[in-house]
Amino acid sequence: MENNRKIGELEALLFVYGEPLEIKKIAKLLKVKETEASDIVATFESRLASEDRGLALMRDGERIQIATKPEFRTVNETLMKEEFREELTPAALETLSIVAYLGPVPRSTIDYVRGVNSSFILRNLLMRGLVERETSEEGRHAYKYRVSLDFLKHLGLTRKEELPEFEKYRNILTSFETP
């Protein structure tokens, strides 16, 4: 099957690229249409689910990346010993929770829910690579914040929708009267 070869090509591509890669870019590199690329990605993802595979596909909207499956603790422990995991401070935990469940979200909403100006803690999380920002349609300085795939990697999740009780908290703002 021609598709099989494309799946191999996709694997090679993600392996070398390492970082999150857009499906649009993948389509271009594999010389296929975007819809086809999405299909190839989906098949690749389902094959990774097999027990003899050590890798998982991570997704953030239209960007994908491969990473080791979280269940291989021995592997991770052996290799990640050097990694120093800081405790999350109350401010970091508050902000990350809001950004993770409600993101992409503007700073005004984060400030509103936390009751504090969040510019410093957001900058701190951006610097640590746990949070990313995207320019929203409203203009260059109206950023929206979302958690990074790196942050999800720390939690052992392949996408933010896997967060516990995602739906429940995602709709929390709409269930209250907010401006």
Partner: protein, 233 residues
């Protein structure tokens, strides 16, 4: 970056407020918020005494001013609140409820974070040799403007701290200002305001509250709808 460090270690104002409400085993209502106002102000005072950073104190002040509004309304039911003040109070209740709900989300994140189930990824072009691919059309003049952009943003980011500092220092200045204005003659609350900014109102409320506690001033309201008169003792 002491500001950042301080910000990281302290609880935010809503977190503190929620803690106070839950300590008394109360629901989040206007009445319960009124009941914890004194405790919240005590905590704020403690923060000031500990010289907690100005930014965080300003955030606490903003919540404190709303609590004071709620408290005043409970003590003086005839007190007319403006539409803006009324919505501020509703807002605080709603925010605290949302905050309380999101505590569960925080718990989820915290436990996953502490589980240390890390997934590992590879570096970009790992194991490959660097190749010199200069961007076309770049010149030495392009670098400084890029730096200017960053420096501008950095400056804009650092500026609010200065503004907040000034606002907080204002509290002490405001007390002196009010005492001076009250020299000899009592005044209405409105007469004490110089500008119409929201931050000034917050500071004014707190200054008056502080002075009542220190027994520096005397507050009176002749009829229900009359303006509150403030005089020096």
């Amino acid at each position: 970056m002491t500001y950042e460090l301080a910000l990281n270690e302290y609880k935010g104002p809503l977190d503190k407020l929620l803690e106070l409400v839950e300590e008394k085993k109360l629901e989040i209502t206007r009445v319960s918020l009124s009941e914890v106002t004194a405790d919240f102000l005590d905590y704020l005072k403690k923060m000031e005494a500990e010289k907690t950073n100005h930014g965080l104190i300003a955030d606490f002040l903003a919540v404190a001013s709303r609590l004071i509004l709620i408290k005043s309304k409970t003590l003086l039911p005839a007190l007319e609140l403006s539409a803006e003040e009324e919505s501020d109070i509703k807002n605080l209740e709603a925010r605290l409820k949302i905050y309380a709900e999101l505590k569960g989300a925080q718990k989820n994140i915290k436990s996953l974070w502490n589980e240390q189930q890390v997934m590992a990824t590879r570096e970009f072009l790992s194991g490959m040799e660097a190749v010199f691919y200069p961007p076309e059309g770049i010149s030495k003049e392009d670098l400084a403007p890029a730096l200017e952009r960053i420096l501008e943003e950095l400056q804009r980011f650092l500026k609010p701290v200065e503004t907040i500092k000034i606002e907080v220092i204002n509290l002490k200045a405001k007390i002196e200002d009010i005492l001076k204005k009250l020299e000899g003659k009592p005044m209405g609350l409105r007469g004490l305001r110089n500008e119409n900014s929201r931050s000034e109102l917050v500071v004014l409320f707190l200054a008056i509250l502080h002075m009542i506690k220190e027994e520096l001033i005397h507050v009176e309201q002749e009829t229900h709808f009359a303006e509150i008169q403030i005089a020096r003792k």
